[in-house]
């Protein structure tokens, strides 16, 4: 039981970081990406390769994950500069589909459908982190470190600029803001942090395959942000806890055959997304709608 809970806690920290990173794009930048799992994946594959071929050091692995995802985030920044609104959502959907195929096909790098297996237990500067408690501490440190960085940036001028262009791009530009650079930086920041989460994920799971980086995963992470409340610091965490605990809670519910738990869980969060958008579009942690 403890092992199960520790595992869940590690995942919650990793997904909390992932959801918070998507919040930079969606909540602050108004860049509605449905391809976040792609950058989680870039980070995870990069981290796994480093762990397998260099050393399973947490710092090295997360740095590699963040760097690779941050650089490749240009693939998302490019359409973000060209189009917005529905068009961008469609573009990111396209990116997600192409990336899923690429992950499956690029066997030398990603291991294809089988994935990369046998990732050694994590270390920190030579110290073993094989104990689940130790690795949980690392995950929590990454989560709160990441949150602190994002909080600092989002409460500062960078966050204000991002929100300004989210609320009115033309006005932001009229006040001298470099919209292209702001969007590129926001996308790079969000994706790099997603990459860090991906690196940790690879170490946590000890194997990675394409299943974790599909459209379903992107939508799950998006749901975490939306359900919790986009554009708030606490929202993504609330959403992550709710959506990660949901399957756990469902497994204790009588009457659901274990084989259907996945589908029932999907249906529940799909329904939650729809109902929330109809009745409380700002999310659970978000403030109720303004007067206008």
């Amino acid at each position: 039981m403890t092992a199960y809970l520790l595992n869940l806690a590690q995942l919650a920290a990793i997904f909390g970081l992932l959801a918070a990173s998507l919040n930079v794009l969606v909540g602050y930048g108004g860049i509605f990406s449905v391809a976040h799992a792609v950058f989680f994946g870039f980070g995870a594959y990069a981290g796994a390769q480093i762990a397998l071929n260099v050393a399973p050091d947490v710092l090295l692995v997360s740095a590699a994950g963040g760097l690779v995802a941050g650089v490749l985030s240009l693939a998302l920044a490019l359409p973000a500069l060209r189009v917005r609104g529905e068009y961008f959502v469609v573009a990111s959907l396209g990116l997600q589909m192409v990336a899923t195929t690429a992950f499956t096909e690029a066997e030398p790098v990603t291991g294809g459908l089988g994935g990369l297996v046998g990732i050694p237990p994590p270390q920190l500067l030579g110290l073993s982190l094989a104990s689940p408690w130790a690795f949980l501490a690392v995950c929590l440190a990454a989560l709160f470190g990441g949150l602190a960085v994002m909080r600092l940036l989002m409460r500062g001028s960078f966050g204000r600029s991002l929100m300004a262009l989210r609320d009115s791009e033309s006005a932001a530009e009229a006040f001298g803001k470099n919209v292209a650079l702001l969007k590129t930086l926001a996308v790079a920041l969000g994706c790099a942090i997603a990459g860090v989460a991906g690196g940790l994920f690879a170490l946590q799971m000890a194997f990675v395959n394409v299943e974790s980086f599909t459209l379903d995963q992107s939508v799950l992470v998006l749901a975490m942000v939306i359900v919790g409340g986009a554009g708030t610091l606490a929202g993504p965490l609330v959403g992550t806890l709710l959506l990660l605990l949901l399957p756990a809670a469902l497994s204790f519910l009588p009457g659901i055959p274990p084989t259907e738990i996945g589908a029932v869980q999907q249906a529940i969060y799909g329904l939650a997304m729809t109902l929330l958008m109809i009745f409380r579009p700002a999310g659970l942690a978000g403030r109720a709608q303004g007067k206008r």
């Binding site: 969606v26 509605f32 490019l78 359409p79 060209r82 189009v83 917005r84 609104g85 529905e86 068009y87 959502v89 469609v90 573009a91 959907l93 396209g94 990116l95 589909m97 192409v98 899923t100 195929t101 690429a102 499956t104 096909e105 459209l215 939508v219 998006l222 749901a223 939306i226 259907e260 589908a263 029932v264 999907q266 249906a267 969060y269 799909g270 329904l271 939650a272 997304m273 729809t274 109902l275 929330l276 958008m277 109809i278 579009p281 709608q289």
Partner: protein, 289 residues
């Protein structure tokens, strides 16, 4: 001859995509709602058809049930999801998330009811005959061609010649004008959803009778409709039809150079290229910002 064969099956896929995407474009053109859940109408129609045929219904009756399901779903989305959201915010992202939630619900409902594996009804539609040495055409091809010709023809006449059809096209541009003519915008929007969703039925039925369906068709068809609409130029029926054809052909032709895995991705590479280099699409006038 392989290339010609792939081209032909590309055209067959593309015609069905074209119809489905035209449904999406019709809805968007009339209501400005980006109906992300359009693929769920397709999935419901397809699985409804499979269910009915398995229950021993005749094909026409089963197709009727499929149509009822698709149309009912469209009307439901209009009245109970999109309209309440538009009443308070109407931000496109709210609409997107709500619609996506519905897609997930439909998809997992199907998974629970029919399982994750492919389902299909057995038919002779895939039986092919040679029209040229080495070039085979399945009966499904002629059905797809016929359905597309008849439906596009009827739709074109309806939109161009009838009062309601013209009003439907004017809805998005000038709702006030409609009121002056005594037409109800609500009724027209319901009509757009009904017609648009019905256009997904031929693809769904033929899909069930040829390649088979899996629960993820809902999101696949959604993506295809979106991609076709963007490639063709959003809101343009002609564009969506052309876009659907382009995507269907691209998906099939790519198999001649790359692994079949890439066939779905090929469509999205086309989509991505369009968004980067010609976001207004083939026929689109100006990019709506």
């Amino acid at each position: 001859m392989l290339l010609a064969q792939l081209l032909v099956s590309g055209i067959q896929t593309g015609l069905l995509y074209a119809l489905t995407a035209a449904g999406f474009a019709l809805i968007f053109g009339a209501t400005r709602i980006f109906h992300f859940a359009h693929g769920a109408a397709y999935a419901l129609a397809g699985y409804g058809f499979v269910f009915a045929v398995r229950a021993g219904w005749s094909w026409p009756l089963a197709a009727l049930l499929a149509t009822v399901l698709a149309v009912g779903f469209g009307l439901f989305m209009d009245a109970f999801v999109y309209r309440p959201i538009q009443r308070h915010t109407g931000s496109f992202f709210t609409v997107f998330v709500a619609a996506f939630g519905v897609v997930i619900v439909v998809q997992s409902g199907i998974e629970i009811g029919f399982g994750r594996a492919f389902v299909a009804v057995t038919s002779s539609l895939t039986r092919a005959s040679a029209v040229l040495p080495g070039l085979y055409l399945a009966r499904a091809f002629w059905i797809a061609l016929g359905a597309a010709a008849v439906l596009f023809g009827a739709l074109g006449l309806f939109l161009a010649r009838t009062r309601t059809g013209i009003a439907l096209r004017a809805l998005a541009e000038n709702p006030d004008l409609l009121r002056a003519y005594g037409l109800s915008a609500r009724r027209l929007s319901a009509l757009a959803f009904a017609l648009g969703s019905a256009l997904a039925v031929p693809g769904a039925v033929l899909g069930a009778a040829t390649t088979g369906l899996s629960p993820s068709v809902a999101s696949h068809v959604m993506l295809v409709s979106l991609a076709a609409s963007v490639v063709g130029g959003i809101g343009s029926l002609r564009g969506a039809a052309a876009g659907g054809l382009v995507l269907g052909v691209a998906e099939n032709l790519v198999v001649s150079v790359l692994d079949t895995q890439w066939s779905e991705a090929a469509g999205f590479v086309v989509l991505f290229a369009f968004i980067l280099f010609r976001p207004r699409g083939i026929f689109g006038a100006a990019l709506a910002r």
